[in-house]
Structures are given as structure tokens and as C-alpha cells.
Amino acid sequence: MQTKEEIFEMVADLLEELFEVDKSSITMETNLYEDLDIDSIDAVDLVVKLKTVTGKKIQPDEFKTVRTMENVVDVVSGLVNK
């Protein structure tokens, strides 16, 4: 069982590693596309990375509706805590 805070930390670390964004600027409300300048190709890479880190399969469709950090955390938490 992972808490939302732990998942948030993990995703923020990934974002920093993949896209060199400033981790301290990320909050639950941060919009990936607008605030962090992530595009659809980046998102695909992020999904691939999340798969390796969590060991869970993420449906691309599930990630399509994702906009904010909170959305990501919810998707990941739904998977790892199933």
C-alpha cells in the first residue's frame, strides 16, 4: 500500500529526471501540459517509465484524460493499490 504522498514524490522525481523540470514547483494542481510544457510524445515516455517503476500495466486510454498531477497520482494509486 502506497500513500498518495509517496506516489506524488515518485512521479515528481520521474518528471524531474525525464524532463528536467523544477521539482519544487510541482504541486497536486500542476497541469502537466500547460505548466510543465509536456507534449503528447513526452506523455508516452512518461507512461512507459511509470510502467517500469510500478511494474503495472497502464492503459494508454486511461492516461489520455490525465491533465494534472492529481490525475496522475490517482491513476497510479488506482493501479498499485488494486
Binding site: F19, E20, D39, S40, I41, D42, V44, D45
Partner: protein, 257 residues
């Protein structure tokens, strides 16, 4: 006061749009079926389709020139010849892509899915087998395969037509194609004065004087140094930034001349 020349160009512009539309329908009704009957292999069909569109657009440009709608200059035309190139261009007007396809022999481009449903563009888009804009991964993959197979791919990295007066903002798709496929970039700098057929213009908003279209094919930009960066996402970001700077500068130079 509007001059006779203005009304002539308005009429000629309407006529050119009409020819473009009729041409699109004829390609769907006549050319595409002939290509399908004559060639069995899907790849061959698309190559023939691309060539047909290339020659049609070339004629269409000459029609616009002879009708007095526009004049044009192309610099570095010999650089178009080599097959399998990745061309990036700025996108000031609707006719940029017509010029690019007209001057590059086997051009591929990524088109909006909408164009394959439009009756005027359905025929050409399908006959040539242009890449449909869909899932980012699939578009990236098709783009790389297209260039590797000898097509020259045109990308307008702005993603849409330029809003006059605003700074350059590129999407990173083009950089990703270059980096993941390891293709150098041939930049094409396009100038169009006065500005016309931008996103907010209708076809009948013709410019106050005859349009002059300039296309400069520049020397290749090597992506070697960007490939050193292990993280593909970061490399795409820095290549995109460097391309934005390159094009901003080149467009400034174009305006000064």
C-alpha cells in the same frame, strides 16, 4: 479606390480555388482509381500518387503565376533533389504546403484527419498516402519509416499557420522525428508578402497588391551534437529551442532583404 488589378486578382483567386477543388474531385474520381488498377502494391501506388500530386501542384503554381495572383522565387532549388530528407519550414500561409510539394519530388507530410473526409482533399490525400495525424507514437513511427523509405517529409514545426507578429513557438514533434530517426534537417525559410491566407483570412481577403512568395532552401543542420544527450526528451527540447532561434533569425534576415 480599388483598382482593376484588384478585381482581376480577386476573380483569379476565386478561379484558382475553384480549379483546386475540381482538381481534388477529379483526382478522387479518375486518377486514384487508375492508380489502383495499374499498380498492385500499396507502396508503389502511394509513390505514384505522391508524384502525381507533385506535378499537379507544380502546374497549379504556374497557373497562379500566369493568372497574376502571385510571383515567386526559389533559392537553393537543387537541395530539394536528394531523396529521404527531413524538411522543416515556417508556415506563414495556406499555400506553403502547395509550394513545398510542388518543388520536392517525393513528398510526404502529416495531414489533419479531417482532410481525408473533405470531398476536395479526400482523393489527393488518399492517393498519396500521406500520414494521418493520430496517435503521437504512430505518427512518429510512420514519419521515420517514410523518410527511411526514400520519401522527403515536410514538417511545419509551428504545428499551424503563423500568427503574424507573434514569436516563434515550435512543437517538439519535428525534433523528435529528427533525433529518433537520426536525420539531419534541411530548413526551408518561407516568406510571403504581403501576408495572406493566414489562419484568420478567408479566401476573398486578398492582399492589396500581388503576392510575392519566397522560398529559401538552406544548408542542412546537423543533429550530431544533440544526439550526444542520452535523455531523448531533453535532447528534443534543446533541438527545438535551437531551431526556433535559427528560424527567427532567418526570417528576420529575409525581411531585411
Amino acid at each position: 479606390m480599388k483598382t482593376i488589378n484588384y478585381y482581376w486578382r480577386l476573380f483569379a483567386t476565386a478561379f484558382c480555388f475553384f480549379v483546386f477543388g475540381v482538381g481534388g474531385i477529379l483526382i478522387a474520381l479518375i486518377v486514384a482509381p487508375i492508380i489502383i488498377i495499374s499498380f498492385r502494391n500499396q507502396n508503389t501506388r502511394h509513390i505514384k500518387g505522391k508524384l502525381f500530386i507533385h506535378y499537379s501542384f507544380r502546374m497549379f503554381i504556374e497557373l497562379m503565376r500566369l493568372a497574376g495572383v502571385l510571383s515567386y522565387t526559389v533559392e537553393g532549388i537543387e537541395k530539394f533533389k536528394e531523396p529521404g530528407q527531413l524538411f522543416l519550414a515556417n508556415h506563414p500561409s495556406l499555400i506553403d504546403v502547395v509550394f513545398m510539394i510542388a518543388f520536392i519530388p517525393r513528398t510526404d507530410c502529416v495531414v489533419k484527419g479531417k482532410l481525408s473526409k473533405n470531398p476536395f482533399t479526400y482523393g489527393p490525400v488518399n492517393a498519396a498516402g500521406y500520414i494521418m495525424n493520430a496517435e503521437p507514437e504512430a505518427v512518429l513511427q510512420s514519419s521515420i519509416e517514410s523518410i527511411s523509405s526514400g520519401n522527403s517529409l515536410i514538417i511545419f514545426p509551428e504545428g499551424t499557420r503563423t500568427t503574424p507578429g507573434e514569436g516563434m513557438k515550435f512543437k517538439r514533434g519535428a525534433a523528435n522525428v529528427a533525433l529518433r530517426g537520426e536525420f539531419d534537417i534541411t530548413p526551408v525559410v518561407i516568406g510571403c508578402t504581403p501576408t495572406t491566407l493566414t489562419k484568420s483570412d478567408k479566401w476573398y481577403h486578398i492582399p492589396p497588391k500581388k503576392l510575392h512568395f519566397t522560398m529559401k532552401v538552406k544548408d542542412k543542420i546537423s543533429i550530431e551534437s544533440f544526439l550526444q544527450e542520452k535523455n531523448a526528451n531533453i535532447a528534443a527540447r534543446s533541438l527545438t529551442k535551437s531551431l526556433e532561434e535559427y528560424f527567427s533569425q532567418e526570417i528576420k534576415n529575409l525581411c531585411l532583404n
